[in-house]
Symmetry: C2
Subunit: 282 residues, 2 copies
């Protein structure tokens, strides 16, 4: 496995692979990789002959006051994880390699980004779409892999790829959890042990919601209330949002009569964590 | 030469060509082709093994009240011109093939689109960038050709391709003029014979401007005034804008001490025409 820092090196390597007829996968990440990322890379390696993992903490998807500067980084650890999971190339550019000082172009997906994290993090998804477009054009993969934990991101990227005719299949992969249910996240690293314990409330509250839906409840309002009650039982938790939306359009729904996305964002201390599940109505 | 209407047909043809190792050119047009377009296709054919011409009147780059519905169309004539100029494939999709009813994605180049036509036609360049991104992803050309007559469009597309790392070389081709100096344009078709005569004032006024610069004038204000005086001498002409801007950043300048773009938009009757020249300071 090779690690490169320039666009030119990626292009040369991918071009050589394409000449050999190899299929190419891209797994875009911000590094500080965990088993969630490993599952993406393994899936990519099982479905493609060559896997490129990008590791790039993308400044333009962070808002003012967010954790850009403190976002954890550990390339040595990441390299081992990538190697073990079956990656063939790591692309880890400097910010100056990705953004010219005078860059002026933005890719936006409207509508889908109005609610959920899009409402709470203005500009976030423009930053995501712009960097992912760039990575698509740099790597030119056949398939690209994203985690379902960032459910809105996955929906937005799928829509962008579809709308702009990127010749790339976008594949979502299931959330990977710790044994106790906490969704794997690079940001879990911020948690003190007390907060780590408190963070279980995200998964617990969603499990309560699922139970309610299993019992036949159709009211989105009641569903949100149950999740809210559960989250509020944890004193270290501060709710950022609880949303019940159409799984495709991400628009708010009142009655659960089609596939829905139930998504939450919760501050545990200063750390903002997200979790979600998709519910397919019977 | 083949004419196809679906994205799938373009992709299949281009893929077959790429397998043979052929280089691919794209010439995006809105049809009703003239010698300006022919010059782009000929240049593309001289530098690439296969040339794709897209003919698509892109609705999202027209504003309310603009000439989307009346924009001239003549595919039979266009086909002959493409064939004679050396094209290998015409891609002429229906609107429904290019835009899903629920398309939500926009590509924007900020800054560069604030002035000139961007100021007069809000949303125009978002529409251009979005459709060109789509065409780039559909055709996957090595090189794409645009006319210098749409100087701002050329600057915007170059910037977009650069910012988003499209692996495509953007090539600008010189304005082609009628014998009497009028820049070739599909919209010249709208002009009555009286208006056609009046339209000469665009090129005449720019020629006056060039003469002033040749004589050593450095004041952008005076340059604009001379062009304005000339344009106002034609009663059928109504000035939309006269701009003197930095040729790269398209920002307004006061003193001519670097390469500049001198661009005008003028209504002749109801028809809006544009013309321009680049001036490299000595």
């Amino acid at each position: 496995m090779k690690t490169v820092k320039t666009i030119l090196e990626v292009r040369n390597q991918v071009q050589a692979w394409k000449k050999e007829g190899y299929s190419i996968a891209l797994v875009p990440t911000m590094g500080y990789l965990h088993e969630g990322h490993a599952s993406l890379i393994k899936r990519a390696a099982s479905e493609n002959e060559k896997v490129v993992v990008s590791i790039f903490v993308n400044p333009i998807q962070f808002g003012p006051g967010e954790d850009l500067d403190s976002y954890p980084r550990d390339l040595d650890r990441d390299t081992i994880l990538c190697e073990n999971a079956g990656a063939n190339l790591i692309f880890t550019p400097e910010v100056s390699e990705m953004y010219y000082v005078d860059a002026l172009t933005t890719v936006s997906v409207n509508g889908l980004t109005n609610g959920l994290c899009g409402a709470k993090r203005p500009g976030h998804f423009d930053g995501v779409c712009t960097v992912v477009s760039k990575l698509f054009n740099i790597v030119l993969p056949d398939k690209a892999y994203f985690g379902e934990k960032d459910a809105q991101q996955l929906a937005v990227i799928k829509r962008m790829a579809h709308d702009l005719n990127f010749p790339i299949e976008i594949i979502g992969c299931p959330i990977v959890r710790e044994e106790d249910g906490l969704a794997k996240s690079s940001r879990n690293n911020y948690l003190s042990s007390k907060e780590r314990q408190a963070a279980l409330i995200l998964h617990k509250s969603l499990t309560k919601g699922k139970e309610l839906l299993s019992a036949g409840e159709k009211s989105a309002k009641l569903l949100k209330q149950i999740i809210k009650n559960e989250l509020e039982s944890e004193v270290l938790a501060k709710i950022d949002y609880i949303e019940v939306v159409d799984a495709l359009s991400l628009t708010t729904i009142d009655i659960v009569d089609k596939p829905i996305l139930v998504a939450i964002a919760v501050y545990i201390g200063k750390t903002r964590l997200i979790d979600n599940f998709i519910w397919e109505s019977k």
